[in-house]
């Protein structure tokens, strides 16, 4: 039987120190870690339980924005009144993620560390080749069953899709990850696979997510998260869009626009080309649909996932138009 040690961290510093040990991993809600351990993907030598740390589950919202502690549960944040009113896309992304049971366990910091659902990544005994698990071993997904794989941000080493919802909303609104004192934008926190798909996050050994900060903006206040999926709940996105919009005083001309995609890319995917094409324009269905096509610029499919290239712009357009209707 594979033994591992379990430590209960008593402070953030102690947790970071313990997490720097070889083979150590932080344990919060456990909804990803224990799942991956059962699949044989992660084999930690030491689990550093941070769920007893105090003060890391606070949700603070004011005019400048929201600061959400790393240990706040997804379910609590989704239901938080100020998050719902000032960051509806964040609340909607959360409550459409996973299941109620998982949202009640999983933490915000842990959510950012969620790993891909690529079936080849998750089945080491049948598919030894996986550059994400074993750098240089190859990619079993390319040439295989790719219906759920990414069309944006892929490389020859990896086409695994980033499966989460929350971070899509965060990247749209320029959220920042607090790694203790160090701050990294969510966009920079998630790394493209390139030649090193094993490295997914810009987090260094001995660092720990302590909070997520989301700047308060008018676009965040008028925002939505639209998730399209094969079944109606408890399912990852076929394509999703986090969109926020701010109009000029005329209520029709777009002053600020935020667009990010989920379910289609190797990381939470900010679609700045769509934003740039529509800023300053009057919101019209045809203009929006045309600009939304820019969301999948540079997309590359692997056969069965081609539909995502068709679908994603339609999701973006629908989300933008839906926000326009409420103007």
């Amino acid at each position: 039987m594979r033994d591992f040690s379990y430590l209960r961290a008593t402070s953030v510093d102690a947790a970071r120190e313990a997490a720097a040990l070889p083979g150590a991993m932080l344990l919060a809600g456990g909804t990803t870690l224990i799942d991956l351990a059962k699949c044989g993907v992660t084999e930690p030598d030491t689990l550093v339980d941070i769920t007893h740390l105090t003060g890391l589950d606070r949700i603070e919202v004011n005019e400048r924005g929201a600061t959400i502690g790393a240990l706040a549960r997804m379910g609590h944040v989704a239901d938080h009144a100020d998050i719902k009113s000032r960051f509806p896309a964040v609340s909607e992304a959360l409550w459409q993620a996973a299941s109620a049971q998982i949202r009640n366990m999983a933490t915000m910091g842990g959510n950012l560390m969620q790993r891909t659902r690529c079936p080849y990544f998750r089945d080491p005994s049948n598919f030894p080749a996986c550059n994400k698990r074993q750098p240089g071993s190859g990619c079993s997904a390319i040439g295989g069953v790719t219906r759920g794989h990414a069309v944006l941000g892929t490389s020859e080493a990896c086409i695994a899709m980033y499966p989460g919802d929350l971070a899509v909303a965060l990247v749209a609104f320029d959220a920042v990850v607090h790694l203790g004192e160090r701050r990294v934008s969510v966009d920079d926190f998630f790394l493209l696979p390139g030649t090193t798909p094993d490295r997914e996050h810009a987090i260094e050994l001995g660092e720990m997510i302590t909070a997520i900060e989301i700047p308060g903006t008018a676009a965040a206040r008028r925002s939505t998260y639209l998730k399209i999926r094969d079944r109606q709940s408890y399912e990852f996105a076929a394509a999703s869009a986090a969109v926020g919009i701010e109009f000029e005083a005329d209520g029709r001309t777009i002053r600020d626009l935020r667009v990010a995609l989920g379910g289609v890319a190797t990381k939470p995917w900010r679609a700045r080309a769509v934003e740039d094409a529509l800023k300053g324009k009057v919101l019209e269905p045809e203009t929006v649909r045309a600009a939304s096509l820019l969301a999948v610029e540079g997309a590359v499919d692997h056969g069965a996932n081609h539909y995502k290239i068709e679908l994603a712009p339609r999701v973006v357009a629908r989300a933008i138009l839906k926000l326009g209707e409420t103007a």
């Binding site: 039987m1 069953v145 079944r231 109606q232």
Partner: protein, 764 residues
């Protein structure tokens, strides 16, 4: 036309406890509180834990298995390989066909599919077994595999002549028909996915084997274990008090069971083995992938002149599974000319198995889609064309239907659904971005009949005990047998204790093919009648009985009390009567076997399916029927299909308990929604392996995918089908759901999807 709608509530004059009443599941509280102990939850002294290793190639040979590291791992008791496991004998198949005289090894040297069991590790704890299993190194010599039906190497397959059904000259009539439609319809591999995974505990005491295992057929599985190990049938005891879903997958003893029983024998300790969820996708078969072409020739009024049907299903390299694809095609509509043939194609997969309505389910997808296509081709309402081609008798057997309330089902369903308001043109109904479509399809399932036996005991406290080796996998056997015994003896249902799921009890055949309720209510009715007759006989004739002086011809028992029909004389509880005559119980065995049956007949009846009565035996053809009316909403940009309304009218004959029947119907409809929109085993063609072998990737519907479902019973008692007048319930309702949804999707979008499931990329 009279529409018979039984609600089973007070308005029908039936109390909840009587047969036909809406008694809630008597096993419900035990399941909700956790008191119900499932097979592998038994706590046994000295229990050891086994885990399976599966092949990672689809075709080839095991070159070597290195068990050195695993054997040295902590807690490991045994590593079983094809070379070290004890040898078994080949068992007979489920028809009881004598097996070839050759050994059987549940662990494979020769690999014919990915996921085949190649080794097992047994350890003191489950965790030790899992850890040690990871240390076993299996090497292979791989050969090219035929991965599925579409593999270029698969070929046309093996013709199954027994499936051929022909009358008239179908080809010629099709060629000369004024209107012709012809299309191919495909269904993928689908999986039963029961909540409770397959597993067992096996324990040997000398040459006596006890197996705690979820089972749809205790006596059939006991027979297989007995034959494998060369012990007598009586030496094997199967115990299966509760089953967490079967859907056809738990009717046979499978190789993992043999491995556990071997391990228990080799170690002299009880052994538990439970499949992982991933292993349940390859450890036994789901529904075979199928392909059909359906050609309909008709006149311009939509009257069918010819049906030409060809079907193919996949089977494994070394097993034979025939999914009868012409089963609905040949009986649903009247046609003067008909031809149906079927081939079976060998691929490198586990042998497919039974899954809710095997045969009828994919068959209905073909014919019920095709007739919808014909309806549009001739410009006739899809409901009207079904009525226009209504089969007044069984077109294949040329016999009268025992009962066929399908016309009534169409009428009741259409009325409740509001079908008359349907705009005929595709894409003619919408709500914003949502295209709305209404579809109809019919379904059917034959009444499979067999024999059963039961014991009914009237105990000294006046309570009643029923024993049978049949099982309850959630469909409500405990409840309806309590109702049957209560009504027949004349006691309250809550004083009846039903004991099931132990092969030591009176025997029962397979719980499959929707036959159990009809078989077992008949057996319990007979046993209970016999017990009641004994009770009344003793009350009249025993000199110590307070009724003795009454000189009555008979007495009545109601609500647990016995009295004269005229109301004169004593009025005693059953307990008081038994006390007065000095009896501590009365016991009667009842069975529905023919009177002259031999012991061999009985053994064959309960341990094989060879004695099942044909549903077309005698003068009648016996089927259950249903009509589904379904509304879908399809997002025109996203291609997502959501079912927004279901009204189904069903004819299962007399319902023994409408509440439970409705629950089973709804379960079938929900499973049909999953089949239509979500379910598909996806094969990695390079490895011949199912990659979505888990419940995160193999999607079944969630509550959010299921709208309100309205079910209407239009059945009438059918005494040609069963002793008490019921027909099959469990499998019926899934049949026809997928084509009703596909037809609704066509109505919504104008796109005909002929490959299940209807996923969004097929519509955008």
């Amino acid at each position: 036309m009279t529409v018979h709608t039984r609600h089973g509530d007070a308005s029908d004059g039936v109390t909840a406890e009587a047969v036909g009443g809406r008694l809630s599941r008597v096993d419900g509280p035990a399941k909700i509180t956790g008191a119900a102990k499932y097979a592998v939850e038994q706590q046994l002294e000295g229990l050891a834990y086994a885990v399976l290793l599966e092949s990672t190639i689809a075709s080839g040979k095991v070159r070597a298995i290195d068990t050195t590291a695993a054997e040295a791992a902590p807690g490991v008791l045994k590593v079983l390989t094809p070379d070290t496991i004890i040898s078994l004998r080949t068992a007979s198949d489920w028809f009881g066909t004598p097996p070839p005289d050759k050994p059987y090894c549940p662990l494979a040297h020769d690999i014919t599919f990915s996921g085949q069991h190649v080794a097992a590790v047994v350890a003191e704890t489950f965790e030790q077994a899992v850890a040690a299993a990871a240390l076993v190194k299996v090497s292979y010599d791989e050969t090219p595999a035929i991965v599925d039906l579409s593999d270029g190497k698969a070929g046309d397959g093996i013709p199954i002549d027994a499936m051929t059904k022909e009358w008239g000259d179908a080809q010629a009539a099709f060629a000369s028909a004024p209107v012709r439609v012809c299309a191919a319809y495909n269904t993928p591999r689908e999986y039963q996915a029961p909540m409770e995974p397959h597993g067992l505990i096996a324990r040997w005491e000398g040459d006596q084997l006890t197996v705690w295992e979820p089972s749809q057929w205790l006596d059939g599985m006991a027979r297989t274990y007995a034959e494998w190990f060369g012990v007598s049938f009586e030496n094997v005891r199967l115990v299966s008090p509760y089953i967490g879903g079967g859907f056809g997958s738990k009717a046979l003893a499978l190789s993992h069971g043999a491995v556990a029983a071997c391990a228990a024998k080799m170690l002299g300790r009880p052994v538990r083995l439970v499949m992982t969820r991933q292993q349940t996708f390859t450890g036994y078969g789901g529904r075979a992938a199928t392909r059909q072409t359906v050609a309909l020739g008709a006149d311009r009024d939509g009257r069918i002149q010819s049906i030409v049907h060809r079907g193919v299903n996949e089977t494994s390299m070394d097993g034979m599974w025939v999914e009868p694809l012409g089963s609905v095609t040949s009986i649903m509509y009247a046609t003067p000319n008909f031809s149906s043939k079927q081939n079976v194609v060998r691929v490198n997969s586990v042998v497919p198995g039974a899954m809710r309505a095997p045969g009828e389910n994919p068959s209905a997808f073909g014919i019920e889609s095709a007739i919808d296509e014909l309806a549009y081709e001739v410009g006739i309402d899809p409901l009207e064309i079904r009525l226009r081609n209504y089969a007044e008798q069984d077109p294949h057997a040329k016999k009268a239907w025992s009962t066929r309330q399908l016309r009534e089902a169409f009428a009741a369903g259409a009325e409740r659904f509001g079908w008359a308001r349907r705009a005929p043109e595709p894409r003619s109904m919408r709500d914003g971005n949502q295209l709305i479509g209404w579809g109809v399809a019919a379904g059917t399932y034959p009444v499979r009949r067999a024999y059963g036996e039961a014991i009914v005991r009237i105990l000294s406290d006046g309570s009643v005990e029923v024993e049978s080796s049949s099982i309850d996998m959630g469909q409500g056997t405990y409840t309806i047998l309590a109702q049957t015994a209560a009504e027949t003896v004349g006691v309250p249902a809550d004083t009846v204790v039903v004991k099931l799921g132990d092969s030591r009890f009176p025997r029962a055949g397979v719980t499959g093919g929707s036959r159990l309720a009809g078989v077992m209510t008949g057996a319990v009715y007979k046993a209970a009648t016999s017990a009641l007759d004994q009770l009344i006989g003793l009350a009249i004739s025993d000199p110590r009985s307070p009724f003795h002086a009454l000189q009555a011809n008979t007495l009545v028992v109601a609500n647990g009390r016995i009295a004269s029909p005229r109301g004169d004389g004593p009025d005693l509880s059953i307990a008081e009567l038994l006390a007065s005559i000095g009896r501590d119980h009365i016991e009667a065995t009842g069975d529905t076997m023919p009177a002259n049956s031999t012991a061999q007949d009985r053994y064959k009846n309960y341990t094989t399916i060879a004695m099942s009565l044909p549903h077309t035996e005698g003068d009648y053809s016996r089927y259950s029927w249903c009509a589904h009316f379904i509304e879908v909403r399809v997002d025109e940009d996203f291609g997502t299909v959501r079912v927004s309304r279901v009204v189904s009218a069903l004819d299962s004959g007399r319902l023994y308990n409408p509440k439970l029947a409705e629950s089973q119907w709804k379960g079938g409809i929900i499973m049909g929604i999953g089949q239509a929109l979500l379910e598909e085993g996806i094969v990695d063609r390079r490895h011949g392996r199912i990659v979505n072998n888990n419940l995160a990737d193999y999607l079944v519907p969630t509550n959010a995918d299921i709208p309100d479902i309205e079910v209407i019973s239009v059945g009438i008692p059918d005494l040609h089908s069963s002793v008490l007048g019921g027909k099959g319930v469990g499998e019926l309702a899934i049949v026809g759901v997928a084509p009703a949804i596909a037809n609704a999707v066509f109505h919504a979008t104008g796109k005909r999807v002929r490959d299940l499931p209807i996923t969004l990329e097929k519509l955008i």
